[in-house]
């Protein structure tokens, strides 16, 4: 409950002619993440005029809208920003205490740790003064929370990493495979695509984190819960989804 801001500290600022950000705090804190998501759900029920998309982050929610539609709406203020700000602050007043984080799914993600799929597992074990088995245990025993999606399509920033596993990112990003599971700082995450990445790679999942053909392309959404399940190489090879 440290640093949980009161309603009065809510800040709204413009990010483009068609987007504003609502800032709920300045720290990574589960209560703030819950508050961002509760506000996001409320906003989707009520709907700012012209709104077509929202992007929740650790401690902020960005609302994208069509400026002309917003300007045409009977809201106080002369500019689109003034109208959006007045509407969002008003919504915050009505919003209650945001204590309920809502229903969130727990998604189990199978991971083959180490070996050819986790090039950096040994390094992580050495750095953290643990052995590989302990790293795997500490990484897979926690239920993580999806704090935000960003960086590349379907990339989830997961909160809840055991502090014993904190490790700096690599000085220079290297190419990682789709499904690579990495850790860096207080965070862990899964790379959905082949991309340069700077996190320490400890394993790989055969699950597809992003698939444009699915009705929800990103497997994970903000506020979901995630659990990793260690699997063997042969289980990885046999994995066919589902």
């Amino acid at each position: 409950m440290i640093d949980l801001p009161g309603k009065s500290t809510l800040q709204v600022y413009p990010v483009s002619e068609g987007a504003v950000t609502i800032e709920f705090g300045k720290t990574i804190d589960e209560d703030i993440v819950n508050r961002v998501n509760a506000f996001d759900r409320l906003l989707h029920q009520k709907g700012l005029p012209g709104m077509y998309q929202t992007v929740p982050a650790y401690a902020s929610l960005t609302v994208f809208f069509d400026l002309q539609t917003l300007l045409d709406a009977p809201l106080p203020g002369k500019t689109g920003f003034d109208k959006a700000r007045a509407y969002l602050l008003g919504l915050n007043e009505q919003a209650g205490d945001f204590e309920d984080a809502g229903q969130s799914k727990i998604i189990t993600i199978p991971v083959c740790y180490g070996g050819a799929f986790g090039d950096d597992l040994e390094y992580v074990a050495g750095y953290t003064k643990l052995n590989s088995a302990a790293v795997i245990k500490l990484h897979s025993e926690v239920v993580y929370k999806v704090c935000m999606i960003g960086f590349i399509p379907g990339f989830a920033y997961l909160g809840g990493l055991n502090p014993l596993l904190q490790i700096p990112r690599k000085p220079t990003p290297v190419k990682v495979s789709p499904g690579a599971v990495g850790i860096a700082g207080a965070q862990t995450g899964i790379y959905p695509l082949e991309t340069p990445g700077g996190w320490q790679i400890i394993g790989r999942t055969p699950m597809r984190l992003f698939d444009a053909k699915r009705s929800q392309p990103s497997l994970l959404k903000t506020n979901d819960k995630v659990k990793f399940e260690p699997i063997s190489l042969s289980e990885f090879e046999k994995y066919s989804g589902g």
């Binding site: 600022y13 413009p14 990010v15 483009s16 002619e17 068609g18 987007a19 950000t21 800032e23 300045k26 720290t27 990574i28 077509y52 998309q53 929202t54 992007v55 929740p56 982050a57 650790y58 401690a59 902020s60 960005t62 994208f64 400026l67 002309q68 300007l71 500019t79 689109g80 920003f81 935000m148 999606i149 960003g150 960086f151 590349i152 399509p153 379907g154 990339f155 920033y157 695509l193 991309t195 992003f210 444009a212 929800q216 392309p217 990103s218 959404k221 903000t222």
Partner: protein, 330 residues
């Protein structure tokens, strides 16, 4: 109507006005870098402004018309030519089947857009035809165009497009006397890019922020559809600390931990964690889109209120353009 690519040139892709409904799942906007020129190319043909176009970077591409075509090229830096003559840009062109066309260097600028009557026929992927190379999404199999690709029109022509077609069709290349004055949609003063103050503007010392507006920058070689490296005086912070990642958008100018500036462009990631010194006015992004590595870029401050006003005016002018072309033919 269809064309066959003979030489794809540099990084040619299919684009429209972008993929706006999956930002929360980390999918970038993408779309034409110079959305103004993409719209002019489409509107000149009586198309919808959001129809799929081909984005060419610099010159060097060539293609052959496999059927009689109605096309339009807009943008800057290149124009269409046949074996023997240059063809005008920013206006509809009737081109008979079997004509070889080339993209030739023409003045400053770097991106050109080829529209076809009815729009290029491409699958809708997450609400857009735009190509996003990193995730191999959209366009033609999510990739750059290549030699031998055959690309055809949807064949769905508006009444305006049909009227333009009937007016121009024949046995030889034909085009009307009018053209869209693209420069009238650009600011009168194109020497500087208008920006609004970013959320973390005050994180930098006065010397840095005043130099941001008074000293120019040069576009670095590591510049692409995701972002531009801006080389010049580096920024010094007065407020230290890490910024929590939050949504960013094309036009955001971030300052890296080394004090270097990065201008995010249309394929940029959906979230970022660097302090934001400024946001480029949306209507000046097409000017940025036409810059190439080595080009100079200068910034001038406007208010957020002014930016909104300019954006609304610009949208209105584009609607008027569509209406004017429609009324000329229908």
């Amino acid at each position: 109507m269809k064309i066959r690519i003979k030489r794809a040139g540099l990084m040619a892709t299919i684009q429209d006005l972008g993929r706006h409904h999956y930002l929360s799942q980390g999918v970038p906007v993408s779309g034409a870098m110079d959305s103004l020129s993409a719209q002019i190319a489409n509107l000149s043909l009586g198309n919808d402004a959001n129809d799929a176009v081909i984005e060419f970077t610099q010159s060097g591409a060539s293609f052959v018309t496999e059927e009689d075509m109605l096309i339009c090229l807009s943008g800057a830096g290149a124009c269409l030519k046949t074996e023997i003559r240059r063809l005008p840009s920013h206006r509809p062109l009737f081109v008979p089947a079997g004509t070889d066309l080339y993209l030739e260097n023409a003045g400053p600028g770097t991106r050109s857009y080829l529209a076809v009557a009815g729009g290029w026929h491409m699958p809708d992927v997450l609400g857009s035809r735009s190509t996003y190379i990193t995730a191999r999404l959209g366009g033609l199999d999510g990739r750059f165009l290549k030699e031998k690709d055959v690309i055809k029109s949807t064949g769905k022509l508006t009444a305006t497009t049909k009227a333009i077609w009937n007016d121009l069709k024949g046995n030889a290349i034909n085009y009307p006397k009018w053209s869209v004055a693209r420069e009238l949609f650009l600011p009168a003063d194109t020497s500087s890019i208008r920006v609004m103050r970013g959320r973390e503007f005050n994180w930098f010392d006065n010397a840095s922020t005043s130099s941001f507006f008074s000293n120019g920058y040069v576009l670095g070689h590591n510049s692409n559809r995701m972002g531009y490296q801006l080389q010049g005086k580096s920024m010094h912070r007065v407020i230290e600390g890490e910024l929590l990642s939050t949504a960013v958008t094309p036009g955001t100018i971030q300052v890296t931990n080394n004090g270097d500036l990065v201008l995010l462009m249309t394929d940029c990631q959906t979230t970022g964690g660097y302090p934001r010194i400024a946001q480029v006015a949306a209507i000046d992004l097409p000017l940025c889109a036409q810059l190439k590595p080595g080009d100079a870029i200068n910034f001038k401050e406007i208010s957020w209120k002014e930016a909104e006003k300019l954006y609304i005016q610009h949208q209105l002018e584009l609607r008027k353009l569509a209406e004017t072309i429609k009324q000329r033919y229908c």
